[in-house]
C-alpha cells in the first residue's frame, strides 16, 4: 500500500513538472512565432533551426525566467535588431502605404460596386 502511494506521488510530481515545463515553452513558442528570423528570411524564429534562431529561443526563455513580459521582450529585441524583427510593423513614414493601401483598395472596390449597382 505504501509503495503504491509512493509511486502515485512520484508520477504526480513528474506530471506536474512536465506541465509547468510545457506551459513555459508554450510561451516561448508564442513569442518566437511573432519574430522574424533575420538570417533565414521567410521563416519565423519558431520555425527555424538555424543557430541564430536556437540562441534566440534560449534568450527568450531566459527573459521569461527573469520575469519579463511579452512586450518587454519584444522591445528589447527591437532595440537590438530594429523594428523589422517583429511581424507587426508600426505605422511610420516608411510603412504608412502598407497600412493605407488595403483601405484605399477597399474604398475603391466599394465605389466600383456601388456604381455598377446604381447603373443597373
Amino acid at each position: 500500500m505504501k509503495i503504491k502511494i509512493l509511486v502515485l506521488i512520484i508520477f504526480y510530481l513528474i506530471g506536474s513538472l512536465n506541465l509547468s515545463y510545457a506551459a513555459n515553452s508554450e510561451k516561448v513558442d508564442q513569442i518566437s512565432k511573432n519574430l522574424r528570423c533575420l538570417i533565414c528570411q521567410g521563416q519565423s524564429i519558431y520555425d527555424s533551426q538555424s543557430d541564430f534562431a536556437l540562441s534566440m529561443k534560449i534568450l527568450i526563455q531566459n527573459k521569461i525566467d527573469e520575469g519579463k513580459n511579452n512586450e518587454q521582450i519584444y522591445d528589447f529585441l527591437k532595440s537590438k535588431y530594429g523594428e523589422w524583427i517583429v511581424y507587426d510593423p508600426e505605422i511610420t513614414k516608411n510603412t504608412f502605404l502598407l497600412w493605407l493601401l488595403p483601405l484605399i483598395l477597399f474604398v475603391f472596390g466599394a465605389i466600383l460596386i456601388i456604381r455598377k449597382v446604381s447603373i443597373k
Binding site: Q41, D51, S55, I58, S79, K80, G82, W84
Partner: protein, 177 residues
C-alpha cells in the same frame, strides 16, 4: 474610351511595379537596423576561454579608448580569412580587441588561436549564443567597434573584415577621441 483607360491603368501599373522591383535589386538582402541608439546598456556575464573565471562586458571594455568586439568560431571559414586583419589591428595602442567565441568547442577554439595567432587581449566563450544576441549580432563573424568611455557602438560589421573595412576602422579610431 473605357478600353483605353483600362489599357493605360494596366500599363502604368506594370511600369510602376517594374521600377519598384528594379530599385529593390540594388538593395542588400541582409537587413541591418540603423545604429542610432547604440548604447551598450546591459551587463552580460561570460566565462573566459583560458580560465574558468566569469566576467562582465563592462569589465571587458574598461581599459584603453576603444574596444573591438569580434565574434568568431573555429568552425567558421570566413573567420579564418579575417583573422589576419585582426592581427593587423592589434598594433594600435588605443585599441583593445576582445573575442567572443560563438558556439564552439573549447579545444578547437584554442587550436584555432594557436594556429593563426592571437589578436585578442581577452577571449570569452558564448556556448549558447545568448551573449551574442544580446549584442545584437546575427552570427559569425561579426565585429563591433565600441567607444569605451561613452559605451556606444561606433561601427558594426556583419561578415568578415576586409581591406576596406580595416581602413575605415583605422580612420574612425584616428578621428574619434
Amino acid at each position: 474610351m473605357v478600353k483605353n483607360i483600362k489599357l493605360i491603368a494596366v500599363v502604368s501599373l506594370v511600369i510602376v511595379s517594374f521600377f519598384i522591383l528594379l530599385k529593390g535589386l540594388n538593395k542588400t538582402n541582409n537587413y541591418s537596423p540603423d545604429l542610432n541608439s547604440s548604447k551598450i546598456d546591459f551587463n552580460f556575464k561570460a566565462k573566459f576561454l583560458y580560465s574558468n573565471e566569469e566576467t562582465t562586458l563592462y569589465e571587458l571594455i574598461n581599459d584603453k579608448d576603444f574596444s573591438i568586439i569580434n565574434i568568431w568560431a573555429s568552425w567558421c571559414l570566413p573567420c579564418r580569412d579575417e583573422h589576419s586583419f585582426l592581427l593587423n589591428l592589434k598594433s594600435l595602442d588605443k585599441l583593445n580587441i576582445i573575442g567572443i567565441n560563438y558556439k564552439d568547442n573549447e579545444i578547437n577554439a584554442k587550436k584555432f588561436i594557436k594556429e593563426l595567432g592571437n589578436p585578442y587581449s581577452k577571449v570569452v566563450v558564448d556556448p549558447s549564443g545568448v551573449n551574442s544576441i544580446e549584442l545584437g549580432a546575427y552570427g559569425v563573424p561579426e565585429t563591433l567597434l565600441v567607444h569605451n568611455k561613452t559605451k556606444t557602438i561606433l561601427k558594426k560589421y556583419i561578415g568578415p573584415l576586409d581591406d576596406e573595412k580595416l581602413a575605415e576602422l583605422k580612420m574612425i579610431i584616428k578621428n574619434e577621441n
